[in-house]
Symmetry: C2
Subunit: 436 residues, 2 copies
């Protein structure tokens, strides 16, 4: 049973805080192991990667077979059914169309003192995308990571995807090809992150690593952060549905379950202003759980982390939503736009009852790599900007330097940075000489 | 003596790689200590912060005196000379004028299928800015961190600045007031980062922490990353000057020294296409080092990490610059714009000989918090975007869902995510029923 809360109950605040603070993350003590793996890959390169892959994935590789060959890529893509291929091509096209609009603008202007100021965006040269293997090997995630990189103009795109016992998901390979990936390595775990960050004789290092992964991958990304850029440390998925009673309980039950089926530590929460409707949705969830293929996972998630919260009105729903800062927020209410205006912290908002969250996972267009665990308070979903960086530009003229240089000199002196001050002063002196 | 390299020498590549790979970062083993400090602050709140401040800063505080009072802020600001105040106001005004242009645009459009798509930016609710104490207590950094936050629309801005033995820099307090900071806490180190990330009874938690600091602060920021957002792990400062012979060697010597004087592990590099000019600059550096106030620090930096590189032409200079990915890049050449076009990885570019880097530290307008240690390959200087996040928006109509829903269902099934597929299917079925 999920928890049922009511904002009118006297102990609501304590219960809601407990819900917010519930620790869902599996955090095994992997950091020491990861540190050793990274050091090993840095020291021994391909040999370490190959040994670790044999140990963890039961797969014997050589430097020559670390990457899929062009023929292997071709063969895997050929296994995909036309129906799946068409669906993936539609998804790729829509994701690309959305992300193209995110390309940032350069700027350059001249200020009243005559100084030219601005900035210029440029793509990172090389990016590496991690794709989990096994249960969580989602081809859609390949599109969601690789297409923004491609749109940004990244020159070299690599993927690491483990293939335990040699098992390959052909759709992952097809997604990589659709998204313009240059190299696909069949390696995973911390060793893959280390190889992409530091490079090996066979695997060229990249500048930015993105993509979800297990606790080892997350710990490795945290450790290589600084040497390369990373996207975020992904946590278990979550959805908040805010709904009034004018909804089909079964639809919302499926929306809640579409998060719960990801992971037994995923979280699905319903907020409604109608307690009876909340009960109806909970009953619909139980009914669907009887037959759902992933009922063990989804049922555990719903039982342990699910919640149905009854509120007085939708303003209260918005306030609670802002405290939850959900990864996914579905607004199944009469005026979803008005409610969206009031919800400030959310990774992605799905407006109205015709927009199930699953649309956003595949074909909506926006990215499905989104901030989890309340991090929508301070971070955004993956975008083209994650694969670009900004260089600021400044050019002084003699008269601009004459106008603002003395203030710089004053501040440099106040900070006891004499050379800073002198580097301005020597130029100002020249100007004064010349104007004599 | 700095190293002198020449790109025509046969062993240049090895020497340049060694220069790139030189480890400048002091990295004492502070991580365990920091982990204990964070745990202590989480467990004991104000009491832990107060004890640690007494131990490290020799300053006895109470919960009531953790923050500067309004009267104390007023008193400190009153100590600043009119000249310093005017300079700081000019700096604040110019920094604000630059950053206002960085405010990002929201977007909302309807696609050919009738789906409404877009995104919306919003500020983080609360930000905490770390300001080092002692030697590296730079008021200009307060402006550079706080003004972008203020321009972003952050509602609550806090600063932590340690005041060892109670020593306060009045300019830091004035800068905080000019930049709209709400609370100034006289605490530092890992305990300050922990307090801002997790909150204490007296110090409200924030969503994002920015600002430079020592190894303890850096390790603490890395550890709280995820609980809150952080800007970057700042490393020692660096400058690359690319210059032809039509420059005053003394000007460039001072520009190189203005980085070297920051820190003995700072790095200053000159690339020139004229070996004799390179020697002249090196001589000018030595001459200035005889009298410079910070000659011990600047001299050690120049001796241990300085470099003068002679290249065949400016294209080669640009190529080397891209491998260095410098924090600061000064282009003192006849056509700096053309050379800037070729330099892709740099935190900030200063164009032409009238733009000493020190202008950018104070009054240029662009931010002086910039990516160090080659991280300009994948990251940008601090900006308004660091204090905002993006929520994606999607709204399907029944007909849009009819058009793209089946592809989502297909992909969900291919990923064995049944509830995802059903959440789309139940809606498509309703549409089919209605159209009968």
């Amino acid at each position: 049973m999920p928890v049922f809360l009511n904002s009118s109950d006297p102990d609501f605040e304590a219960e809601f805080s407990a819900l917010l603070g519930a620790k869902r993350e599996d955090s095994p003590e992997v950091d020491d192991i990861v540190a050793r793996i990274i050091a090993d890959v840095r020291a021994r390169g391909d040999a370490a990667v190959i040994e670790l892959t044999e140990r963890f994935d039961r797969l014997k590789l050589t430097p020559e077979t670390l990457a899929f060959s062009a023929a292997e890529v071709e063969a895997q893509c050929g296994k995909v059914s036309p129906r799946d291929r068409d669906a993936m091509e539609l998804a790729a096209e829509r994701i690309r169309a959305y992300h193209v609009r995110q390309r940032p603008e350069n700027a350059l202007w001249t200020d009243p003192e005559g100084a030219t100021l601005g900035w210029r965006w440029s793509p990172v040269s090389a990016a590496g995308l991690y794709v989990p293997g096994g249960l969580a090997s989602y081809p859609s995630s390949v599109l969601m990571n690789a297409i923004p990189a491609q749109v940004a103009g990244v020159e070299r795109l690599a993927i690491c995807v483990p293939t335990p016992d040699g098992q390959v998901n052909p759709l992952v390979i097809l997604a990589a090809r659709l998204a313009g990936v240059d190299a696909i390595y069949r390696i995973g775990g911390a060793q893959a992150i280390a190889a992409m960050a530091y490079g090996t004789p066979t695997i060229a290092p990249v500048d930015k690593i993105t993509g979800p992964g297990n606790a080892f991958v997350a710990a490795a990304k945290r450790r290589v952060f600084g040497k390369v850029g990373i996207d975020m440390i992904a946590g278990p998925s979550e959805i908040l549905v805010i709904a009034d009673k004018d909804n089909d309980p079964d639809w919302l039950a499926l929306d809640l379950l579409s998060q719960a089926e990801h992971d037994q530590v995923a979280q699905s929460v319903l907020i409604t202003d109608d307690a009876a409707f909340g009960q109806a949705v909970a009953q619909a969830v139980e009914a669907r759980l009887k037959t759902l293929a992933r009922r063990d996972i989804a049922g555990a998630s719903w039982r342990d982390y699910g919640a149905v919260i009854t509120v007085r009105d939708m303003d209260e729903a918005a306030a609670l939503s802002n405290r939850i800062a959900p990864e996914h927020l579905e607004l199944c209410v009469a005026d979803p736009e008005a409610l969206a205006e009031k919800t400030r912290h959310a990774g992605a908002i799905f407006l109205g009852q015709w927009t199930p969250e699953a649309i956003g996972d595949y074909v909506g267009g926006p990215n499905h790599v989104l901030p989890t665990a309340r991090s929508a308070r301070f971070s955004s979903g993956l975008s083209v900007l994650d694969f670009m960086k900004r260089t600021t530009l400044a050019k002084m003229t003699p008269s601009a330097l004459h106008a603002i240089g003395p203030a710089a000199e004053t501040l440099a002196i106040s900070e006891s940075l004499e050379a800073h001050g002198l580097s301005v002063r020597c130029r100002l002196d020249r100007l004064n000489e010349e104007s004599k």
